[in-house]
Amino acid sequence: MSILSFAIRSGDYAQGGSASKGLKEQLKKIGAAPEIIRRVMIAAYEAEMNVVIHSVGGRMTVALDEEKADIEVCDDGPGIPDIEQAMKEGFSTAPAAARELGFGAGLGLPNIKKNSDYLTIESQVGKGTSVKFRILLRPQALGERMRNSLHIAPAGCRGCYHCLFACPTRALRVRGNHPEVRSELCIDCSACISACRTGALTVLGTVGQLPPGEGRVLVVPPALLSQFGPVVGRVLDSLAELGYRDIRVTQAWEDALRGAVMLLANQVSQPRPVISPCCPAAVNLVAARFPSLIGHVAPFVSPLEAVRDSLVGKRAVFVACCPAQRTALDVGRLDRNVEIIVPSVLCNAVMPLAMSQRGGVSWRDSSLQTGETSHQTSSDMNVMRVTGMQHVVNVLEKVEDGRMNDVTVLELAICDEGCFGSPLLGEDPFIARQRWVDARRPADVGAMAVRRKMPLVAKAGLRLDNDMSKAIDKLAKIDILVKSLPRKDCGLCGCPTCVAFAEDMILGKASRADCAFFHEGTEHVP
């Protein structure tokens, strides 16, 4: 990690760009790709000029490592009164002197957003502004070693092995009542959490406090609102009582994504079916098990990430219904503006309120709509919705075989009925979804789909050895080893299959004696 710091002087137009130029030299030295350098330069230059034009002076601090450039440009005033307005293209408060020089077109912050992977802005009028952004220097590295948000509490495990067989990528092992996850295989779905009877597997951050409402926006999925009976409006009322500055229901962003995917699907060049990235775990599944279908996935971020994108500069609390949602929100977190909780934290807080209220639906009556909205406008298009892990896998196999070309858009969700089937929620998914469909609910609030900044890449998966010739040797050994195993895939050794057991043995993570059918002194097991 190397830290660079540059001073930026207010009103010094002639020297404007010198800080970002210093950065460019550094990036060249570490061998960053030209296209990435260009993105860093544009974002850094805009941030630097903002300080020159608007502030009393400030500095740029850059933290560089082999994977990313984290850039913070901060100044000592005057601050931005309304960040949302400042983010709008065309909005500018630049003085005439700046405009004469070709600045002040209201494109600065939008340009930073467009060219960075993650952006946050904090500003206090009278004190100053801090613009932080991150640009990934090796975007492909993310796919190589994806993070997981699966949380394992070994104390709860009683060694039932249900999770072993639930995992679609065979990422779990159970050794002596102690589940382990192979993060290079895990796709952050909820399958093992669903299978776990004892709560030993859950999402990171389950033990968490509900952040106070003051100044924060609360982002909730529809599934959370339909947990408490046919009183969706009342639940919204109760959430409002918690004191949040605003409540955003993710439905609007799901609808916006659907619209954008359909527009894309109209293009002839797009391979069909176009897979909607509405479920981040389903996207991970494609990247891990169906890499040949990556071109089918529409290049947008998930609805939850799109909500985050719309909240730049605001503090927000997100409810994540699965590890994949948590990871998607977490990966780009640059500061504490984004807080993530699991549904139970919010459910516990809202339950007493929702249950105590009497009367009908009141939540912002004027803005409530009934029933399905955007879905209907698209009825002329061939959209297929598939939910539940097994069905999603089946359908993706068919797509891979080229037997689904008659479908235009494919919406996949790993949980039954999408997030309504999250194992972190209690209500039956079909009941919960129907309640939401029937409910009056908040109108769309200018939600938009957001394009991916980095292309989706295949997940590398298990590597037997970094040296390919050694890996091939190991492959041959595994092949021989598997033939000597019972091939019952019983799971008693703690691996989901005999092949996985053989791999673990070759990698030195399991020993032959773990096999229940192995007897001392025999070369082959029956």
């Binding site: 002639a14 404007g16 260009r38 544009i42 020089l101 070709g102 600045f103 077109a105 494109l107």
Partner: protein, 118 residues
Amino acid sequence: MRLSRIAQELSLRPLTAGAGAEDPDVTLGYVSDLLSDVLASAPAGGILVTVLEHMNVVAVAMHAELAAVVFASDREPDKAVIERAGQEGVALFISPQPAFELVGKLYQLGIRSRGSSS
């Protein structure tokens, strides 16, 4: 098309001496007087037509990795600007013609904006 050839066809007057040394192949171009717009949309390796003639144009040209900047309507930059451009390897040209004419001629020569299909 080679930059020197473009300069010749449009009767551009070169301001930076070393510009002829590399003489890059230029196929893309852009016209704008908003620097953020140039940053956002001007293609790397392209030629920019503008009436802005101050130091920041050079900084933007460098960041956007432009091959050349043409100052339209005889907008002559300061010596310091020309010197800086020389250091940064950005070729500067000047022309009495307005931006409209210059861009029209560039288009006739086959120069296009990034993402143009025609």
